[in-house]
Symmetry: C2
Subunit: 404 residues, 2 copies
């Protein structure tokens, strides 16, 4: 019997999805599972999206151009212009979610064995995309005590080698919710210019900001026109995750040319999501303000409740809709599985993403979880109360085991 | 300025799409361009597909499971059962077109530096998917004189090394239209069993058959349950290319497990294409019979016209909707570009895919083109007449150049 590849064996299961079978089993038992594991917003996809589908008048659902419909790229660029980023439709390559944009960006800029520096905890799937392209992830640690701020420049210098080709950050950050400041981006600019590195920035959450600091896009870093590759998506902004429409945005034409060749190989991104999604870019400030107010409220509720639980610490995230919290457990993988398999509270339980999968360093983050606050405040409150009860019970059981 | 990767530089442009800028320029000049370059069927996407979209009653367009909606996988498996292939929903991983299924299949079974044997000419994008995964394509030649039949078993034995992990064929074939017989598949079985190789079979065109021989799916090869990985798609079967819905089908659970991890990294395939596409599997024999009769007629018209042109040879394809023809030119890349840039015939011209891009061997197939017969017979006839006029003019110009 032929064997699967080492890559296929070693590829990590997504920490966001690997517990799905346990959640399914819990649901089969009749439990209500609060999903804090996945960044699947509960917000309604705007009606403009559905209306477009209802009024489609097409005969053949054709391939679109490999870099996406021109009209869609123009709308996307128009939205960028409206928030003060000077790019045009030619700077966009439309992809199957930000996921594919990240893969194409990596393949286009890094060869087999090349290295990419990513602050950890990091979005778990970055590790998977890198592995598919035989690219080495070089993590640099950030700390829950500083709210996962950018580490000092010396930490970057320490891990840069001749093989280093890029630094990747997510801003605001998934999984930590940390919002990088303009000063931190200027620091990254200095490093990238000094060592001639690409700066990859995943900005899919750029509207989800809860403080007073305005968002500073990496595309507005001066002198970095050839170094910056930004990844974007309509999934979170418009609660349209299932559309699978993302984008790679850069002014570097060589990167665009290379990405287009990877794009041609897979022919085209999905047509329907682009056709339905074109109107979304016309949504005004009111749309974003409503969404942001709701998520800010959720964050406040969640962070406050979490920090009241004995032994739990959750820094206050500045953006996105995630937080990484430390729990009074030794192994959050085992704890998260137990919450689904061995626990219930008033007929409910909670699914979270163990943070170990968001660390590239072996053994790091073992007592942490990523929580996505994508539920209304009533459910969110119930979920955190359920977590609190679970932690209490888990401690009792483990004390019992130790005592026994 | 940071440099793109070697991979990004060396990645081939798709021969199907690289002439698009020349076609766009020809259209801007007011010419009608007959697209014989791309397998984009002109058939209408069945009304069932559009009806589903018109009557959608959803609030949030969510991610779907990483291996696709369970209901969709069940429908897909039901269609397989109806054509005599004994698989169930758990054997399917739904992907973003067959393209992604091919990528996942390769990553799951082949590591950096491993080798995959593919008869050439081959679907050009196989080369791109392999390159993205640092996998080496080992071509074995097939010949236009034999209609691109499978070469003798010795040819395979010659290129098999310790690094060889899989053989990949497309059946019926893109780009040649060749239909592999059951006997040829049994030969491949013997090779794969002897050398413990995966047999990858791209069967997206399995309904498009024009002879008397029934289709024999690789999934029905006995003793090969762990070796066979089949790639499928709704793009051609239902003229739904823009939906980007494909599948990887195998009974090998290790391959499914590995593919699922690559799938989890990109979260999910498109939701809309699955929701709209579910009803298509209920289309009966009449649907397929109508489509096949139309393509058979087109094939007959095209092959007959092509073989009447002096210096042109086109074998009669048994399936799919492509043919590879040899032309009386030295360099079909230059000729195809000239057809778009420097020629017109009654206000029209023809776009074809130069066959060189379908060969992995340097310099092979230089006088060949791939033609997709995806136009109605009137347009197809005009297109071939236009090609004939183009070849005549091109010969005159080149003789003039030689004479001058």
């Amino acid at each position: 019997m032929p064997k699967v590849s080492m890559k296929g064996k070693e590829m990590p299961s997504s920490p966001i999805r690997k517990l799905v079978p346990y959640a399914d089993a819990a649901k089969k038992k009749g439990l209500k599972v609060f999903h804090l594991n996945i960044g699947q917003p509960d917000m309604e996809t705007p009606s403009q999206f559905w209306d477009k589908l209802k009024h489609l008048d097409m005969k053949v659902l054709e391939y679109c151009p490999s870099n996406g419909f021109a009209s869609y790229r123009e709308k996307f660029a128009g939205y960028y212009n409206s928030i003060g980023i000077n790019v045009n439709a030619s700077h966009f390559m439309i992809t199957e979610g930000a996921s594919e944009a990240l893969s194409f960006g990596m393949y286009s800029c890094l060869d087999d064995g090349d290295e990419i520096i990513i602050p950890e905890p990091m979005y778990a799937n970055y590790i998977g995309f890198a592995m598919a392209g035989d690219i080495k992830v070089k993590p640099i640690s950030t700390s829950i005590e500083t709210g996962f701020a950018l580490p000092p420049i010396e930490d970057f210098e320490k891990v840069i080698t001749a093989k280093t080709k890029a630094i990747l950050i997510c801003n605001p950050n998934n999984p930590t919710g940390y919002l990088y400041s303009k000063e931190e981006l200027l620091t990254l600019r200095d490093i990238c210019l000094k060592h001639d590195l690409f700066l990859f920035v995943d900005e899919v959450y750029r509207e989800f900001l809860y403080g007073d600091e305005p968002f500073f896009s990496a595309l507005n870093l001066e002198g970095m026109e050839q170094h910056i590759v930004v990844f974007d998506s309509i999934s979170k902004r418009f609660s349209a995750c299932g559309a699978r429409i993302g984008a790679l945005v850069t002014r570097n034409t060589q990167v665009l040319d290379a990405a287009l060749k990877f794009g041609q190989a897979r022919l085209s991104p999905p047509s329907l999501g682009q056709i339905a999604g074109e109107g979304l870019f016309d949504l005004g400030k009111d749309y974003y303000n409503g969404i942001v107010a709701e998520y800010r409220n959720r964050r406040d509720v969640m962070v406050s409740l979490l920090n009241k639980i004995p032994g739990v610490y959750c820094p206050n995230p500045g953006g996105a809709f995630y937080a990484v919290a430390s729990l009074p457990v030794k192994d959050s993988d085992a704890f998260c599985q137990w919450m689904l398999e061995g626990f219930e509270h008033n007929g409910t339980t909670v699914m979270m993403a163990p943070a170990s999968g968001f660390y590239s360093s072996e053994g790091a983050g073992k007592n942490q979880v990523r929580i996505a606050y994508v539920l209304n405040t009533t459910d969110l409150t119930d979920a955190i109360k359920c977590l609190e009860a679970g932690l209490k019970k888990y401690a009792e059981i483990n004390e019992g085991v130790l005592a026994g």
